[in-house]
């Protein structure tokens, strides 16, 4: 990790912004998540929102209830104590993924003038600049290890995903030169070192690789597994892609509509030290827990 000291700054008179590190790393994400959990547990008077992000976090407070200098001192104290935690209890979820689907392909073709490589599809471009011999080899790497939900946001319920591999194996792709004005709902996107699932239809700048038939946000809360809360993902969840074809896509979509579909999910404990000691072994155990 590049930095040991976090950077504190105020976002106006209502937000405390804490940058754990300038660069993305699992360690920075873990620290952000554990400090946010500790702040939540501390039940600080006047705190209205706690937002963990990839390598930073934000606390919204009411300065009529707690002075800005007091919230800063309180969070610094909590950060100093929370540092040690490298283990979290979390969930692992399987997400069916239909790559190179007709809908995102149609959309990306409409916006070729905003792309770095108008003569290739987004996934062909991503495979090439990451030095994979073929799209299939690229997809094998993309789906070959789990991903952390390192942040939820931008729009309602959208997960940012960080691949659980050593940095040298991480995929990196630039965003579109100019953002698109349209992205199908449930598009599987990628930009910088982050994957995402677009929870709603709308503008977007991430490269488009495919689509999932599994809704992740439902403001009506009619989808069976979104009746407790309208957003599926929480920061700290672990996601595994399950590649499917058109037939698999249609059948899951029908199951979702009939209220029969239940995401495959398991409770797991993740240990960062064990992961850093043996990346593939730790990932294998996570998958075993999912399929147990």
């Amino acid at each position: 990790m590049a930095r040991t000291e976090s950077r504190y700054s105020f976002g106006g008179d209502e937000h405390l912004f804490v940058e754990i590190d300038e660069e993305m790393s699992l360690e920075a994400f873990f620290k952000s998540l554990s400090v946010c959990t500790a702040i939540k547990q501390a039940n600080i008077r006047g705190v209205t929102e706690i937002c963990p992000a990839n390598a930073s976090f934000q606390v919204k407070f009411d300065p009529d209830v707690i002075a800005p200098s007091d919230i800063e001192a309180e969070v610094k104290r909590i950060e100093a104590q929370a540092q040690a935690s490298h283990r979290i209890a979390t969930r692992i979820l399987e997400v069916p993924a239909y790559f190179r689907d007709p809908w995102t392909t149609e959309t990306l073709m409409r916006f070729r003038d905003r792309h770095q490589d108008p003569n290739a599809t987004d996934i062909e471009f991503a495979a090439r600049i990451n030095h994979y011999p073929s799209v299939d080899a690229f997809l094998a790497a993309f789906t070959g290890s789990p991903w952390f939900v390192s942040m939820v946001g931008f729009v309602a319920g959208l997960p940012f995903l960080y691949q659980m591999v050593e940095r040298k194996r991480q995929i990196q792709v630039p965003k579109y030169l100019r953002p698109r004005t349209d992205t199908p709902a449930l598009t599987i996107g990628f930009g910088g070192c982050f994957g995402c699932i677009y929870s709603v239809r709308g503008a977007g700048g991430y490269q488009m690789f495919g689509i999932t038939p599994m809704p992740i946000y439902d403001p009506q809360q009619k989808i069976s597994y979104l009746q407790d809360f309208m957003c599926l993902f929480r920061p700290g969840d672990i996601l595994v892609w399950k590649p499917i074809d058109r037939e698999g896509y249609d059948s899951i979509k029908a199951d979702v509509e009939a209220g029969r579909f239940v995401p495959k999910m398991a409770e797991v404990t993740f240990d960062l030290d064990a992961f850093e000691h043996d990346v593939d072994g730790t990932n294998r155990k996570l998958l075993e827990a999912l399929h147990a």
Partner: protein, 323 residues
């Protein structure tokens, strides 16, 4: 029931917002000019956080199915009942079958229409506010359309003729002044850019909505050169995606500052140079496209003083209407 005859441009149901879900990307929403919204509710005898209509740049046409007390605050868009003018910032009666319509916009950007009893749409995650991007809350999660029938709550309503005097209303100056606390990724700007941001007069761009207000016309902002951190992206204005404070000003590519507002995208990968102070957020809601705007540097002490003044103003409105 309230019938929407003509919807206006982007009329939505709003209250004071939906705090608590930003960490999953659901923004605070609620009225962009909260002081105007609270005042409108107080004028008709509603609780301050009752749901009302927010209408940008243009008024709707509404038909009433029963007698109600109504008040319109915010922008200068004169209301009319069956074609007869009614004053702004003042409660008036409408009878069964009456039509409320509006003149053209003269000043400001958004009106708030409070109706006694409030708009009785379902409460979703603690609020009746509309978050259109997420199809959440309000009336069917969207802006109003012709033919919509809005449920109204029960409420006798205050008397007509209650009014708030001029000195208790708040509208932007010309040019508009927004106080900004530098911070967040301010250190990414060059000394030149730090100066020019506050020296230049910017103009509100046509992209000015509930998500955010874009400004243009100032000198482009330059960044301190660096090797981009891992995961940040290649543009010098990129950062590793982080949470965006409500009111924060991001500058994609260094060209056009965007101040996020009530339906903010909750996070992303553009550096933010600072945040508009809470006391000035309501003013943004009253800016029309092309309004010349200056950003004024401000520290925490001044931000808290301005916040206290704004609270005093609200207390004065409450006291005036309680008398």
């Amino acid at each position: 029931m309230l019938e929407v005859v003509r919807p206006g441009l982007a009329t939505t149901v709003q209250d004071l917002g939906r705090p608590g879900y930003y960490h999953v990307g659901i923004p605070i929403s609620g009225a962009m000019d909260r002081l105007a919204a609270r005042t409108a509710n107080l004028l008709v005898g509603n609780p301050e956080d009752a749901a009302l209509l927010e209408c940008p740049f243009m008024g709707p046409e509404l038909r009433f199915e029963d007698a109600r007390t109504v008040a319109v605050t915010g922008a200068d868009i004169a209301p009319k009942v069956n074609g007869e003018p009614r004053p702004l910032w003042t409660s008036f009666r409408v009878e069964k079958g009456d039509t409320l319509s509006f003149d053209f916009l003269k000043k400001g950007a958004r009106i708030y229409i409070a109706i006694s009893g409030g708009i009785d749409v379902p409460v979703v995650l603690g609020s009746r506010s509309t978050y259109a991007l997420g199809a959440l809350g309000g009336f069917k999660g969207r802006k109003l359309e012709a033919g919509d029938l809005l449920p109204l709550g029960a409420g006798a309503g205050a008397a007509e003729g209650r009014s708030v005097p001029e000195h208790l209303r708040r509208m932007p100056e010309m040019p508009a002044k927004l106080r900004v606390m530098p911070g967040l990724y301010w250190h990414r700007l060059t000394e030149e850019a730090k100066q020019s941001f506050f020296e230049d007069t910017w103009k509100v761009a046509p992209e000015a909505d509930r998500i955010g207000y874009r400004f243009r016309g100032g000198r482009p902002l330059t960044f301190v050169p660096r090797e981009q951190p891992f995961g940040a992206g290649s543009d010098p204005s990129n950062i590793v995606d982080a949470a965006y404070p409500y009111g924060s000003i991001q500058v994609p590519g260094g060209t056009e500052p965007i101040a996020l507002h009530r339906d903010a995208v909750s996070g992303g990968g553009y550096m933010m140079l600072g945040t508009v102070i809470s006391a000035d957020m309501d003013l943004i809601g009253q800016l029309q496209p092309h309004t010349p705007t200056r950003f004024v540097p401000c520290d925490m002490a001044e931000a808290l003083r301005a916040r206290a003044e704004r609270r005093k103003l609200l207390d004065a409105i409450r006291a005036h209407l309680a008398a």
